[in-house]
Amino acid sequence: MKAKTFPQMAVQLGKLSLKNPVMTASGTFGYGEEYADYVDLNRLGAIVVKGLSLQPRLGNPPPRIMETAGGMLNAIGLQNIGVDAFIEEKLPYLRQYDVAVIANIYGESYAEYQKVAKKLSAVKGVHALEVNVSCPNVKKGGLSFGTDPKVAAMVTRKVKEETDLPVIIKLTPNVTDIAAVAAAVEKAGADALSLINTLTGMSVDLKSRKPHLKNITGGLSGPAIKPVALRMVWQVVKRVAIPVIGIGGIVNAVDALEFLMVGAKAVQVGTANFINPYATTDILEGMQNYLQDNNIKDINKLIGTFNAGGSSCSG
């Protein structure tokens, strides 16, 4: 038997160097602490923290979640402690770890995005910003920023003005042409893209004739959205030159590898953490095993090796 060599897992996302391509998805891993009992945070490619806004946010009234076929709907309403409390109370904890910390930010105006970005750029321990232009739960802003290529580009420009950190724009799938939005934010200076955020959906309780979520609509996540996410990542990587991070329904190594194959440089694991708190490291180990079994020495050798073959027209 041939001795197996340990595959090279590091990836480079523009200026951002990651130990490996497995990161956590915003809103599904708290501020890291919540999972430190389960996962050695040092082993992660990056931790993306819960979306941060300028002021603390109360969030939506309950019920906020509902299970649906192969996934779940959520309408958390971006409950978070606010950027200042994050810097004071949560960041010192994360600094103890040798892991890239990516702050996911949210604003209801350009000025708010800018203020949050500026505060996070002035402190040690934040390695990149991920700009949520896509949260479907909040009535003001949210959806509108990410659905119009021009507005998305403007947010990108405004945030870039305030920071030297790599800026990742997180795209919403609730659009007709995601590649057009991707191209617009790339032109506006985005360093990387992450996609997808949740798909807007709803669920009805037959007995009470009411929605299951108090907010009526919510964001769909989990395995149910993976095919949509994969298709969108594929469409976007064909269109842009900046690195793309694949997100959506990844629960195991095979899912993650599919995203890399179609061209994502890294992946984020979201809802899977809820059903398996070890999901991130399980996925990482599964990817390493796959590379070893297939004698691939470097993860980068797999990225973008997808062979589309025949026609790409469905019907």
Partner: protein
């Protein structure tokens, strides 16, 4: 690293009343001794539906020679619990826990009052068990008010009769015990209890706990309640299981049932 996700083997899963089940699960002895009020997230390993775990209170705990046995008392409420109910002896379930905080106990208080509606008996029963075994409280100090719509929904009595002397049973239709709401039965007895020397614990439907809040009034009795909300992670990460409570300044705050609770002070809970 915490290792609190286990594969358990079902030793027993019986319908004790129509739609009410008692499940006994064997777990490795590394499963921590639960504190009363704690719960587990239970899933069927490898199944994609139900996708998320379901929170279920720990009803009893026994440490055997080289393993642990825990019991759950549950009601079929929908898809997930329906599938649980269909599992046969020696099938496997994934058990994540024990999770959440616990009831604060006051061994020095003269009276311990439990008020349970329906399946709410489950966490309170573990509390009574704990008070007997770990705090050596005498059964005569424990007063249990157990209510349900009809006799068919009165569950958990066999265990309770071994733990408490004073048990009052109430049903809406009088088919077992008194024909009254459980909160009403307690309200009639309230003069028997000195607020300063009584600890009240309650778990049941929202309507019951809201009524209880009205009966207990402002701050006279210390009352802890177990709340329920749909959950995804069970560990405090997703903010999905929020309930509205008053914070220190008296403003509305959303707390997580899984990690800030499931036990809350009744006086802090904001009802719709």
């Amino acid at each position: 690293m915490a290792k609190n996700i286990f594969i358990g083997e079902i030793l027993r899963n019986e319908e004790i009343r129509p739609n009410y089940f008692l499940m006994k699960v064997q777990l490795p002895d590394s499963f921590d001794e639960p504190r009363p009020g704690q719960f587990v997230m239970i899933r069927i390993a490898g199944l994609s539906e139900p996708f998320l775990g379901r929170p279920i209170s720990i009803y009893s705990y026994s440490l055997r020679k080289s393993f642990v046995e825990i019991e759950f008392l549950y009601r079929i409420a929908g898809k997930g619990t329906q599938i649980l109910a269909g599992l046969i002896k020696s099938s496997q379930v994934e058990v994540h826990g024990p999770l959440g905080g616990s009831y604060e106990v006051f061994p020095e208080k003269e009276n311990i009052v439990f008020i349970a509606g329906g399946i709410g008996v489950a966490p309170l029963s573990l509390l009574a068990q704990y008070l007997c075994k770990n705090v050596c409280l005498v059964p005569s100090r424990m007063n249990f008010y157990l209510g349900a719509q009809t006799a068919k929904e009165i569950v958990g009595l066999d265990k309770l009769t071994r733990l408490c002397y004073n048990i009052q049973i109430c049903t809406d239709d009088g088919s077992q015990g008194r024909k009254s709401l459980v909160t009403q039965a307690f309200a009639e007895d309230i003069k028997k209890y000195d607020p300063a020397n009584t600890a009240v614990y309650a778990c049941g439907p929202k309507g019951m706990m809201k009524a209880l809040a009205g009966i207990l009034g402002k701050g006279k009795f210390a009352c802890q309640v177990s709340l329920e909300e749909r959950m995804a992670c069970g560990t405090g990460a997703c903010m999905g299981c929020a309930v509205a409570v008053k914070d220190k300044q008296g403003d509305v705050a959303y707390k997580r049932v899984c990690s800030d609770g499931p036990v809350f002070n009744l006086a802090d809970v904001i009802w719709e």
